[in-house]
Symmetry: D2
Subunit: 400 residues, 4 copies
């Protein structure tokens, strides 16, 4: 049945002027980085449930990530977290990854789990603690050089819980000072990705609270500093795709931490709560990918797509597979938008026509396209089922 479905699907798309071979080429270049910490235990402040199948060592994490890549063809790199993935030799870690057929992706410093960081890391009023935090950033730059990672991803828990607790403007200056030092240490091909967050764990003010603060900081630091958008780090109602389009237009969108939220930073599986929003994010990206300005096209090409979730009740590997397939699905749909049709409707001020031109692509069932693509790539048509019946799943099930 699948063949017939694909044939019909192709016929319908051709009739709309959409060439599926072009679509498939673009889909083959989609890469989504999984995080090593996504394969270990995580949870809420109330309880971290022990997941029998969770990876217990950095090695197991890399292997789990490799399995996700083997099944989906989408995840050739793994982000690591220092010190969670601390090891004697990052050279060895790099070779281990390579031996598995993947690579080490973004390096993620941790500046929130040391007792000294209770009132801030790079924005702590205590200069010695700021020094320590900056040193950790420099250490991560060094690690990135060894692992061959292009990106160092920065998320800061820094902020305050009460009015008056901290000197907001002084902290702003300290943040800039620390990152300027780190910036200088990077080699020319490296990038610093600056993440922002609306709140949590700080509940009064967060030093980098929104895209504007991350963006302004990146601007001051230089062209190798870019903004990282975590889809769960905004106020309710925020139009995330607007921010995405804006940052691309400024050539400052470095990448994503993908996940879903309904309330706060819920860190659920990406695309599970509001799939249309994910589609609309890709619509902005794809629209910009054909921009006349080469700097904008270059920005789009370098976007790092990364998963960052907290699987509290989900089995880890299944959750990772589900996540990357959700991303792939919405990306595929967005590629089916007839951008010319949209533009024409916009130009003739046809509100409903322009909206419909975007929306219709979301309504297509892309299952035939995805299955055909996987066949071309030598993958199982349904990665989730393939995983469940794999010997790997059986082995993982016996962990712990």
């Amino acid at each position: 049945m699948t063949d017939k479905e694909y044939a019909l699907f192709e016929e319908r798309q051709q009739a709309r002027g959409i060439d599926l071979n072009t679509v498939k080429e673009k889909m083959k270049s989609l890469k989504i980085e999984t995080p090593s910490w996504g394969f270990g235990d995580s949870g809420t402040r109330f309880k971290v449930f022990k997941n029998r199948a969770a990876a217990r060592t950095p090695y197991e994490k890399l292997e789990d990530a490799t399995e996700v890549h083997r099944l989906t063809g989408l995840c050739p790199s793994v982000a690591i977290h220092i010190p969670w993935d601390k090891t004697d030799s990052y050279e060895k870690l790099r070779r281990h990854a390579e031996s598995l057929g993947i690579s080490i992706g973004a390096i993620n410093p941790n500046l929130f789990q040391d007792e000294e960081y209770m009132l801030g890391s790079v924005t702590n009023a205590n200069a010695a603690i700021r020094r320590k935090a900056t040193d950790h950033l420099l250490e991560c730059v060094d690690i990135a050089k060894i692992t061959g990672s292009r990106d160092v991803s920065l998320w800061f828990a820094d902020g305050t819980n009460y009015p008056g607790q901290g000197d907001i403007r002084a902290r702003k200056g300290w943040m800039q000072e620390s990152l300027a030092e780190m910036y200088k240490a990077m080699s020319p091909e490296m990038r610093m990705l600056i993440e922002y967050k609306f709140f949590e764990p700080a509940f009064y003010h967060t030093d980098l609270a929104d895209w504007g603060m991350a963006f302004n900081l990146a601007n001051k630091l230089g062209p190798q500093a870019e903004v990282l958008v975590d889809t769960g780090h905004h106020a309710q109602g925020t139009n995330v795709e607007h921010i995405v389009a804006y940052l691309i237009d400024e050539c400052r969108l470095g990448g994503f931490h993908f996940n879903s939220r309904k309330y706060a930073d819920d860190d659920l599986i990406v695309g599970a709560i509001n799939p249309y929003e994910l589609f609309l994010i890709f619509y902005q990206i794809i629209d910009a990918s054909a921009d006349a300005n080469p700097a904008i096209r270059d920005t789009v090409n370098k976007i790092a797509y990364m998963i960052d979730q907290s699987h509290n009740i989900e089995p880890k590997i299944e959750a990772a597979i589900r996540s990357v397939l959700n991303v792939q699905t919405q990306y595929a749909k967005a590629l089916l938008i007839d951008l010319e049709e949209v533009r024409e409707a916009q130009e003739r001020q046809d509100v409903l026509g322009a909206e419909a031109a975007v929306r219709k692509a979301f309504e297509f069932d892309v299952a035939p396209l995805l299955e055909s693509l996987r066949e071309e790539q030598g993958l199982a048509p349904n990665p989730m089922e393939a995983y469940k019946s794999s010997s790997y799943a059986k082995r993982v099930g016996e962990r712990g």
Copy 2:
């Protein structure tokens, strides 16, 4: 200087028709329960910072609570959490509290920290887990009988993270079933306080998501079931004092869990983020306390005021002192509202006049009143300073 200030303050209030002796009598009857868990370590999902001064045993917790009561005169009882405060003999625990001059307050079951409760406790699709959860509720009723506690406080983490994960209506039925069984086990003078929460740790749906669900359940169970309002458990923008007034009018407001929030369930010190909201809550309560309907007056009299916060970066005992003083301060201000003035302005449709009549009471500096009251009660005029210079503080500082 204080005497002069009080005299002037009294003069001004008398000129408005407010009798401070009446105000003081009401203030003397204010009781705020502290939670045993507020004296131990707590934090966010990112990190629980070790607070050197945190209580390490149930005994230390009771002693810390006693110290807070000794200094403020406001906290004659302590809520306990089962199993965090599990002990061989609750009879002994009760006597220990009594020997300290305080009593055991509300019993708080814990239905979220056992591995089996990952997908729900009383609303779990597995009947055996529901049975276990209900048994724990019955155990807490038994404990309450021993400790002499009037109230059992119920908060459920139960809910789902994804659409389709659970059968929302079946879970609603299971919740009712379990609580009906518990209800029957209570003795006639006991109360079941049902708490609701907008979200967290469940991120798609929470079985008791708002006051309406808790209220409807209480209605079905019977007159000993009432609603517990946690000031941090609402959607952004929710008018909490409206809910308070509504529940009083329905004679179903059982009590409060006080804390502050700016974003989600931030669990900061009550009154620290939006003190006017706390004042407006007390305005509704005080307004109802003089109602012609004795059932409403009775409801007001039985309201249990409890603190429930998560002190992540604050020293525990200071945070508790600060919290109860914040509550006392806003209560005092609300008692200075001239309710007759408000009513007259409301009746003549004078919007700004009615608003001003309420607001002006918030603007008074009640420090002279509080100091005079403490003097009458034989307390130090400034409980926080008294604590800091106490031998107790010194001993606590040497903990851990």
Copy 3:
């Protein structure tokens, strides 16, 4: 191509155990009421743009509604607003509707546009204004009797803008008093639908602020009073489908006012901003429609689906067509959920399996199903295109 597509679609659904004939039968019974005021000019507080094609008289409104029904087969009734649709003879209006092949639907009183209602209608502190408001409600009951309308839909703008402005509990009592009087006036087959709203135009407190207040009031009034859910009247993040499931379980869900929102009560075209939410609402409804309890099934059968939007920049009739097709699309998708598959996954505590069982139905492209259905109903396969090329559209374009 369509026939082949439908055949393939049917084949795939059959393989899943879904019988499309049953689905189609259910789809044929879907009725969505359009509002007369949706065909006239509307806007924001900043500007009401003159839409050349807007209906100018009640007669034109009925005709526009008829055209939408003619094209979609979904809209056999029109809600009217008193006094916007005030007329000498409602008997005549009824006959006019009947002559067009439609009927008069819900009667909507207006208690917010008279100068006297500035500080409240049925909750005004002035008894004479409350009397006037109640009389208007009684008038609407009388009109409903003449027009043969089953439902009277109540939305109140009543609330306050400032703390202290109104006596919250007194207003609660006045609301109940007024509606009790109206309730008595209804004939046995009539229903009172009580709408709630989080805020606007009242900005401090709204007398009926959430489903809980509307539900409690309906409970007190009697079985003919039910709750009306407007999808745009909730706090950010609110799980609307949870409320829907809850109200069905209590046999108190009377109907919907459908529209979309991203921020506040944006009143955009339903299904345009978050289509998955609309699908999940229908999932709850369809799940309950097969309940063992006949009272629940009966509640589901009587749900009134109504559109209530404010088309600020959209052409009116196209917007109405688009709206009802969006509803039909999500309803069709929800009918493709294999409820048994969901239930089994829920029972074996398979979080991702249960979620996927619901979600997969959303991913189907139901265009072949809808086109096949329309063919059976004798409708054009694409109602929007049919409208655009119709003589009616041409005539409407020449209005104003």
Copy 4:
């Protein structure tokens, strides 16, 4: 009694090291601009209630504003709106204002009430409409030159209601293009104040949605472009005082539109819903006013404080008086913060100490200070009462 109260108040402040004469000097330099449109009728999309006392002509508006200044000594200038205050001769208008003892303040272009602006003004896809909009901006620059206004305040309703409706990045470019042209037309002492808004009347995306977009645009335009913060234009939970501190630190805070909100852009009387937030905004401003960096001090000195509210149910002049007094009250309280005490607590990492050092100033009752100040300024001690008993109030009451 007042004299005694002031003496005691002064004594207490002196004991804290606060010199009231310095405080009074600062208070005397506080200027709050009222908007001409605040004296006319306004409302919600549901109804604009006719306020008998509303000003009917630009002349009456200036006179009402003059009366507010006469009573409070706080409002020496009035913002005007073009074309609402359109007149034959702005030279004449300027002289009229001067004859009343006030001046014309910020010029506010209107780019949302012309039919052509339905889908955008300076971001409209139609170049002719963009031209028209830009011309209006240039006209406003010309008017400012005549009226002697330093500031032109820009708020754009521009945005879209549906995904796909507009080309987000193209619109961003058009906005910049238009403002660059306007920027060039300004004389060197003029400023362009760029306002942002989270949403409304656009409900999908707003072209200038947050401070980051306004800030980035100002940065690109040049030093005469600054950001205007409207306190009601943020997402729920946003820490407005953080944004204020941030913009001051970047020397880009041009001014405020003050008002209160609990939900969306409610436009209620400033300081009425969350007075502590207003106090905390002034805390950041006062803290920066003593900065070592002269550019920051200069930024603070040039902040334009403006009221922008929509009085739906309030009498206009009373609402204006109330508003500016609320601002003055919180400003006075913030001046009582002992900044040194705060800083020391911050440096010793004393969370509760730092918070208390800020908060204690909020708790002072500044009535004695305000009355003493007014006496020095030759004003009535209670401006609201003075107004109510004035002949002006009587005359205004007879309007309409």
